[in-house]
């Protein structure tokens, strides 16, 4: 009997310890060195799919941002800035706890991201509630700026603009009589193709939706053949576009192929091989050579490769915030206001945001690139009329 009491006492003691231990909360939850105390600098979180199948699209942006931070620190050793990476693999489920983490840690004063539209959509209410400004280098879904969210800004044109540019390019340069449109059923692909359909009207003769990880495109190819289209517009990513284009060319389809920034990835010509030759890829990103200043060369030097998709946007996004730090803004509130009123030439475009957080339409630069000799080479800037 006695031993039982001892045991019971032990159990009660354990419970008591826990209750007491509850006193020391959140030891690991980050320090509360709140910004806004006038000192220069601050901590910025960047989140996105840094691993996973589409990491190739996101990593240049991360690298661009890192480069911007590095250059800033070199130039302003007194201003302590820090960039923390949070990998979400592009999955909204994983992006939400990241957002909670960043929002609760008062030392973060701004966010670069999200890189994909899904994770952005899932987390922007959280960042808005925390008063954290978001500067996204590559989330292009039109709806993101249509919700009235005050935190979200992007230094990239949205799908609407890009779709319109693609329409303009098709109408003015390729001049096809029949267009076949394909999307991959992702918010990005479908969104942009919807814009193209709207813009082209009856020139679009038929459409198909493929799905992620599809490898056989016989049915799509038959449809393209029967439609007699002389141009194909594809909204989606490399993993499906490369095999599709390859199979289509093998099946004797000679129609012009037009893709969007999801294909602005060295993996696309590599995956499609010779079939990719002559394919057009539009991207709201400046060609390296056109990018202002020494960005392209610096990037090349730092990472040993040319800046891929959104490298310049990542750089610009980071610089929007870094300029704020330099101007003495170091609280969430100040930075939010800073970004809202930002007005300066960046490397990818002239950066100025409208009320909804989109970069001003007139400032969006969209380029058409052509695949030549397995390289994505700039062709011409698309003028939005």
């Amino acid at each position: 009997m006695r031993r039982n009491y001892v045991r019971a006492l032990g159990a009660v003691g354990l419970a008591a310890t826990m209750v007491v231990a509850a006193g020391c909360q959140d030891a690991g939850g980050g320090s509360n060195e709140a910004g806004g105390d006038g000192k220069c600098g601050g901590k910025v979180a960047i989140f996105g799919a840094f691993t996973g199948p589409n990491a190739g699209l996101v990593l240049p942006s991360l690298n661009g941002a890192k480069l911007a931070f590095k250059q800033f620190t070199e130039k302003n050793p007194d201003c302590k800035v820090e960039l923390k990476e949070f990998d979400t693999t592009g999955d909204p489920t994983q992006a939400t706890p990241v957002a909670n983490q960043v929002a609760q840690d008062q030392s973060f004063v701004a966010v670069i991201g999200g890189h994909f539209s899904g994770e952005t959509k899932a987390t922007m209410p959280i960042y808005e509630a925390a008063g954290l400004v978001m500067v996204s280098p590559s989330a292009t879904a039109t709806e993101l700026t249509a919700t009235g969210n005050k935190a979200f800004h992007r230094v990239v044109g949205n799908d609407g603009t890009q779709g319109a540019a693609a329409v303009a390019y098709l109408k003015n340069s390729l001049k096809p009589s029949k267009v076949f449109v394909i999307d991959d059923g992702t918010p990005y692909g479908q969104g942009i193709i919807d814009e193209v359909k709207k813009g082209l009207g009856t020139v679009v003769v038929d459409s198909d939706k493929v799905q992620t990880d599809q490898t056989n495109f016989d049915a799509t190819i038959s449809k393209i053949k029967s439609s007699g289209a002389d141009a194909i517009a594809y909204g989606g990513y490399t993993n499906e576009a490369a095999p599709l284009l390859k199979q289509a060319r093998a099946a004797g389809i000679t129609a012009k192929f037009l893709g969007f920034d999801g294909l602005y990835d060295p993996g696309f010509p590599a995956g499609a091989g010779a079939a990719a030759e002559g394919a057009i890829v539009t991207c709201p990103c400046l060609p390296a050579a056109e990018a202002g200043g020494t960005f392209s060369a610096d990037y090349q030097k730092e990472y040993g490769q040319a800046p891929g998709s959104y490298g310049a946007e990542g750089f610009d996004g980071a610089n929007v915030l870094l300029d704020g730090f330099k101007a003495g803004k170091s609280s969430r509130k100040d930075l939010m206001e800073w970004v809202d009123s930002y007005d300066k030439q960046g490397v990818s475009k002239y950066v100025k945001f409208d009320a909804s957080g989109d970069v001003e339409k007139s400032k969006v630069v969209i380029w058409a690139y052509e695949i030549k000799g397995g390289q994505i080479t700039p062709k011409e800037e698309i003028k939005l009329s």
């Binding site: 489920t93 939400t96 706890p97 899932a122 479908q190």
Partner: protein, 383 residues
């Protein structure tokens, strides 16, 4: 030869150690076990605040780029709920369900489509019945709707397919999960690939003004999920320790023999499916409420497989086991983010190793028995 024997001895030692703790625990008087259980529950509630020196490294935010601890705990709790539901199907009734994510999705989408002001369904209802712009079904009503729809889908899936044998059932359920995902993605009334945002929580639509279940602090969400988990654990325990649980086990062990003993296998299998589906629906509903935004690709077949792995790694049939399995499988990849791209490879390796070294699961299922021992002697000698 020596290596195999030593390895065997090591393994035996391992299972003796874990089993020993279990045995010693079971041997304790009931009230002490109750007290220990209460202490454990208290610890679970305390977990998001974890600050005991020496244990803080457990927190997922104790590492560079780590996720919010309470947020991760919430996901763990949801996965535990899923594992408990799936355990009814796989562990108790012995039905291999590879499409459990379908029910999870049904639950999540039920709340999203009825509760969010942005959902096409709510918009259609507004138009049809002339309701004001901000109208949507209240969260408290969405949850029972989610459970009901999940249960109905469970019955609809089970009714035709439960007469199929194990492996056929597996592939059909896998197909079901994929069909749900693809349909939701391809049709417009579900929001299509764009998903649904503004999914309400207990306090209504996600907003910075919410006092308890807000956007930033995940702790209340975790406590809510934990409470739901504990309530449902008790509920499933009640089923397990009744004629229903016995019938499930009998059907799992030998369906024909059970039928010959007067148990109608189909009925109990269908119930297992429906109850499993309901639990999946609840977890989906919780998940969607907390996320505030869902999209179809979150509910892919890989997730289904992860769910099954949680159940099997933990020890199918044992609720403590599957809960542990779920917790570990949700938690470890988060805690060990340092592995970065390697973490799924490591995860796969760990899965293989655990199964090879401990095929019965981390905490194997064991039938309760002890309490009866003394009662057996009380039976009158004459029959």
């Amino acid at each position: 030869m020596t290596t195999t024997t030593s390895r065997k001895r090591l393994l035996n030692g391992l299972s003796d150690a874990t089993g020993g703790i279990g045995d010693r625990f079971r041997a304790l008087p009931k009230w002490q076990r109750g007290l220990a259980f209460l202490a454990f529950v208290a610890f679970l509630y305390y977990l998001p605040l974890l600050g005991i020196p020496g244990l803080t490294w457990l927190r997922t935010d104790s590492i560079e780029g780590g996720n919010n601890w309470a947020g991760v705990l919430f996901v763990c709790a949801v996965y535990v709920l899923i594992a408990i539901g799936l355990n009814v199907v796989i562990g108790l009734a012995g039905l291999l369900d590879l499409g459990y994510v379908g029910f999870f999705a049904v639950g999540a989408y039920s709340v999203a489509l009825f509760g969010s002001t942005q959902s096409p369904v709510v918009k259609a209802l507004q138009e049809r019945f002339d309701l004001p712009q901000g109208w949507a079904v209240a969260w408290a009503i969405c949850i029972p709707i989610a459970i009901a729809i999940a249960m109905i889908s469970g019955v609809l899936l089970g009714w035709p397919t439960l007469r199929l044998r194990g492996d056929y059932l597996a592939i059909v359920t896998l197909g079901f999960g994929e069909i749900i995902r693809i349909v939701v993605r391809n049709v417009s009334w579900s929001g299509g690939p764009h998903g649904v945002a503004a999914i309400p929580g207990p306090e209504g639509a996600p907003s910075a003004d919410n006092q308890v279940f807000g956007l930033i602090d995940a702790k209340p969400w975790y406590w809510l999920a934990l409470t739901v988990v504990l309530l449902l654990v008790l509920a499933v325990r009640r089923l397990e320790n009744s004629r229903v649980g016995r019938a499930w086990l009998a059907v799992r062990e030998d369906e024909d023999a059970a039928a010959v003993m007067g148990v109608y296998p189909f009925k109990y299998k269908l119930w297992a499916f429906a109850i499993g589906a309901a639990l999946g629906g609840i977890s989906g509903a919780l998940f969607a409420s907390r996320q505030g935004f869902i999209e179809p690709n979150q509910f892919n077949a890989q997730l289904s497989i992860l769910f099954v792995a949680m159940v099997v790694v933990g020890g199918a049939g044992n609720m403590a086991g599957v809960a542990l399995g779920a917790f570990l499988l949700a938690y470890l990849p988060e805690r060990f983010r340092d592995f970065a791209e390697w973490r799924f490879l490591v995860f796969g390796l760990a899965l293989v190793l655990v199964m090879l070294l401990r095929p019965q699961g981390l905490i194997p299922s064991r039938r309760r028995a002890r309490e009866l021992k003394d009662r057996a002697e009380e039976v009158p000698a004459s029959v």
